[in-house]
Amino acid sequence: MLVTNIAVTSEFGEFMSDQLESVEDFRIRARAWLSGNMPKLDPAKEYNTNRVADREWVEHRELQKKLFAGGFAGICFPKEYGGQGLTPAHQTAFTEESAPYEMPLRLNVPSLSICSGMLLDMGSEEQKQKYLRGAISGEMILCQFLSEPSGGSDLAGLLTRAQRDGDTYVINGQKCWSTFAYAADYATCLVRTDWDAPKHRGLSMIIVPVHDDASHLQRVRMSDGSDEFCEEFFTDLVVPAENLVGAENDGWTVGQRQLFYERQAVGGGSPYVSGRQATRGGSEVTVADVARAVGKDQDSATRELVGWQTALDTVMHQVVKRITIGMTSGEYPAMASSMMRLCHAEIPQNRMDIMLDLAGDEAVTSAEHGDGYLRNVGIQYLMRQGASLGGGSSEMSRNMVSERVLMMPREMAADRDVPFREVRRGR
């Protein structure tokens, strides 16, 4: 298992204090820089977590370039790739200080926290100089091409093929559920390079351009009307062989690393996220806001529900902190992050349920609150299950916790150690 480069213990901060700027000095410097350089958040501007306006992508690239020029981009990434080489404590301080300002939040997930995190650990020096530096500097945005229509949870059973042809790979197949791909420049794409090996041993990770004549991308409309997910079709897409990340047919190792960062990002424990990130399906509106809006805030049963959800939200932060500490110290296996992921499904779903109950009939139709968040309570509810599906289903997480944390017997797999071309597939 690879050693993670996250470190959140106070010991780490003290240990490094000889070489590094102290968190407090950094905080003061950041505060001054932010006020002089970043635009103030406009409280009147609606920030919708489920819809992204096209202009945001332009704005956020510019904001990232500003951070980079000011020396505040990629706080936990090494300096040689454009980062600042600081600790998660510095990042936390920066996130706190940046709260009143516009931040390039759209670049956090997946570009910086998932794809860049993986490239730092697994990429070649050339790849890091190009793509990691590119992402940190705001020059490019990265996304993931992982899932395929043939199966979500069984990622290693993917069918997109890459054929080596001289100095290139030729890629054919189809990907889906790629978040924000339409706005990205490059994707880390997991493909099959050996059909005679068992499924995990015939995969490779290859960096591909998102927009190319040989690929067709379209946005997928979700039940709440949002369309942040994309699907892509590749027909003889040619990429240079140097875009291979790690070794050929060792893509599962690389993919595992990327999935680790995905769980961490979805679970809220990523050191590469900068600024207060609103999670998908989440909401800036609190249960207490809804209780007040419908005039039930003095009702005893309502107060109990609000208190309960407040407790759950607090516990979610506390458990993320604790598991991160456990994984950093090595007391917990990396798969312990699956517990964070479970909390990040259960607790927001409970919040949506409570909000729906409190909003009552106004969640479905209302003259008074027609354009306000009471209606959004209903819309948000349509994508409730997204919280336990995105980034791997909760059922997969439960397998992980029972098999990798509690060490219970693994599920039977009919495709284990079978050449992939002989594995049975549905139609």
Binding site: A288, W308, T310, M339, E395, R398, V401, S402, E403, M408
Partner: protein, 376 residues
């Protein structure tokens, strides 16, 4: 268990666990139940020698802890108590000590009482609940009437842990000018103690009647002005200790239930191989992680007297109070019919968890308190 304990604290945990393992294994707890419950005096005396009643006492009064974080250390003991459903007045005695220490600066001198409790020579408990009343410590019906240099205390307190063993009571009562706390010896003729049935396997509770009990003004703890702060401190201390204890309970039950899932075979395979059960174990493991996380934060907040300690304590009690019993019931389910027998230890843990859950604010009480604290 806190993942960031110091070396001193890890050592303290190990010695505490070893001591309890030797002196109060589950078989002894069962024997104690058979003999009527309560706690063996020599067991508590030994515990006091180990410092179980000294951790919240400042050094100038003879107390202290090796780590310098007395409340965290006390929570370690409470968690170990949970793991073995230990008997003994750990919660009531330390809650009273917290109150006495809190009132020391503003009120009459009670260092003799603190010393007695610390050495284990005496035990005491908070008489705060009243019959038919819910958790509402600032509005007692028990009265303390001023008569010359004395106070005359009248009223009934119930749900008083170790009510029949206590040497003195820490009584919360209402004076003509507001709520106040008093120390009342238990051996006065006008104090009538009636043991009552309790769900816990060994812990005793009683109803205590104060029939015009006369105590000197020096029996007051702190002052009327400081009384609400004293009560709040005691409340936070006892609730955070309940949370630590419940954590010990669920961690231990989960451990032996996971072991059972590996050892028990049905249809030729271990229970641990069934996905339906694995998923339930995963949820339980995740909830336990949450319980540990929130208890640690509450304990730290109380230890550091953090600004948000009231809220973090209520968050912990609302969450753990809800989940602990749910987890134990799920573990009982995993044991099948064995889980609901007297012979199996599950019910010892469920009894303690339910007791901790219900007293000093149910989860529902704490949820409403959180709503108050966030300004709804």
């Amino acid at each position: 268990m806190d993942l960031e304990l110091s070396e001193d604290q890890k050592l303290f945990r190990n010695t505490t666990a070893k001591f309890l393992d030797n002196e109060s294994p589950i078989e002894k707890v069962r024997a104690l139940n058979k003999a009527g419950g309560g706690f063996p005096a020599e067991f508590w005396a030994q515990g006091a020698e180990l410092g179980w009643a000294a951790l919240l006492v400042p050094e100038e009064l003879g107390g202290g802890s090796i780590s310098g974080n007395g409340f965290q250390d006390l929570a370690i003991v409470a968690e170990e108590f949970g793991r073995l459903v230990s008997p003994g007045p750990l919660l009531p005695v330390n809650t009273v000590i917290a109150g006495l220490v809190e009132g020391a600066e503003s009120g009459p001198d009670h260092s003799a009482e603190i010393e007695g409790l610390m050495s284990g020579e005496s035990v005491a408990t908070w008489a705060v609940y009243e019959p038919k009343g819910h958790w509402d410590p600032l509005n007692p019906t028990t009265t303390a009437r001023k008569e010359g240099d004395n106070y005359v205390i009248s009223g009934v307190k119930d749900r008083v842990e170790i009510g029949n063993e206590a040497d003195f009571f820490f009584v919360t009562a209402k004076t003509e000018t507001g709520v106040a706390n008093f120390i009342v010896p238990s051996d006065l003729g006008s104090v009538v103690i009636e043991p009552v049935a309790a769900l816990d396997f060994v812990r005793h509770f009683a109803t205590v009647r104060f029939n015009e009990v006369t105590v000197p003004a020096s029996a007051m703890v702190g002052t009327q002005e400081t009384a609400p702060a004293i009560i709040e401190r005691m409340f936070q201390v006892v609730v955070a200790l309940q949370c630590a204890e419940m954590n010990g309970l669920i961690n231990r039950v989960f451990e032996f239930t996971v072991q059972w899932a590996f050892d028990r075979y049905s249809f030729g395979r271990p229970l641990a191989s069934y996905q339906a059960l694995k998923h339930r174990f995963s949820d339980m493991r995740t909830w336990i992680e949450c319980c540990n996380a929130t208890a640690d934060e509450a304990v730290k907040a109380v230890n550091n007297r953090a600004e948000n300690s009231a809220r973090l304590v209520s968050v912990a009690k609302a969450y753990i109070g809800t989940k602990a019993v749910q987890i134990i019931q799920d573990c009982i389910q995993m044991h099948g019919g064995l889980g609901v027998t007297w012979e199996h230890d599950c019910h010892l843990y469920l009894r303690r968890a339910t007791t901790d859950r219900q007293l000093f604010g149910t989860p529902a009480d704490h949820k409403r308190r959180i709503a108050d604290l966030i300004g709804l």
